[in-house]
Symmetry: C2
Subunit: 202 residues, 2 copies
Amino acid sequence: MVKDTTTESIILEAARTVFLKKGMAGARMQEIADEAGINKALLHYYYRSKEKLFDRILEEAIGQIADGLNKALEEEQSVTLKLFALVEVYLNVLRDNRYLPLFVLNEMNLNPEKITALIERKIAKHIPGFLKQVREEVEQGLIAPIHPMHLLLNALSLIIFPVAAYPVLSKIGGAGELPVFEAFLDERKPGIKQFITHALRP
Amino acid sequence: MVKDTTTESIILEAARTVFLKKGMAGARMQEIADEAGINKALLHYYYRSKEKLFDRILEEAIGQIADGLNKALEEEQSVTLKLFALVEVYLNVLRDNRYLPLFVLNEMNLNPEKITALIERKIAKHIPGFLKQVREEVEQGLIAPIHPMHLLLNALSLIIFPVAAYPVLSKIGGAGELPVFEAFLDERKPGIKQFITHALRP
DNA sequence: CGTACATTTGACCAAACGGTTAAAATAAAA
DNA sequence: TTTTATTTTAACCGTTTGGTCAAATGTACG
């Protein structure tokens, strides 16, 4: 993280905290101002409206997701190793941003037209290539037959869902079943890799 | 669905629609009244406050999730067949309630103390037994070695996440890659079962 | 120093919100 | 029908919310 102390970035940091946790509808400009330790009018001085400020945070959030996906899929490796990279990259991002998935999914449900453009522009890049590679490795018998899109989807599910659902899971699991968040993520990494590896055995 | 035409259930149906889509913070009492085709004051006549009405819907939602889980895990079957049942039961529920997962996960993040009691009371029932069964089948060599809690978590991830993320996925996938929602779920069912089966091969 | 410019603040505003109330409309009981 | 109880509504209330503005404070520069 870049340690920025300008008013502008202090505001952004506060907006990030509040918006990510409470979403557009649940966030209050006054709360963001308090979190930043400034006057509420100053928020409007730098970012004209709640919506403008929110859009900024939303774009940043989608950017993080897109960067992770692209970083994991761009290097020339086998399908399995690309998915392993995806596990590493995403779980490291989510360790410091556990509200990221729900935040984006929510606003997508609430306001699809706002996100659609961002997603199509930033995320779609390396996906067609990856799907093609899956098809090839299946034909070569390197991995078990599987619908390429479903494979990617399965990997994303295994990575993201447990993070988003952690608060619920920690209750379902019963006393002491689930470790604290960070340790839980460390457990998930090999767990997911093993599950994917096994599922892809020809 | 029970076709109820009393004012009380008309209100509940409207509240369901609005709360599930927009959450507590985003929902407006006036919108619920409009959706129900009644006066706003009537909402308060039957359900005293927004929070009371919301709690009713939330309890109902958690009940659906709990029922699905319990129904799938209670019958005496192998681990694999229990997970297959979970796929069937949940994807059938989610077909008619695509906002259910995000709704519950969100309110859990926002207001843990409200849900915690409900979850512990309704959901935890059959889980310890299932985890024990996984341990036994692993020892007997019927399925590949795996952490029981992670297996359950993986199954839930594969089932729920794609439903919650469908709006995003339909954009990522690019033009024509993903079918419409209902057809997508029909595709997922065998996809998930195959993935789990493969992953559990000893 | 003084002046021009940017930054920050407290006070305020209009709209939206959850909730209340008294009266109207409807149904049930006599 | 008349009376009583229930259901529904329009109008209203106090608070919260996003947003504005003029004044105050700080900063750069001649």
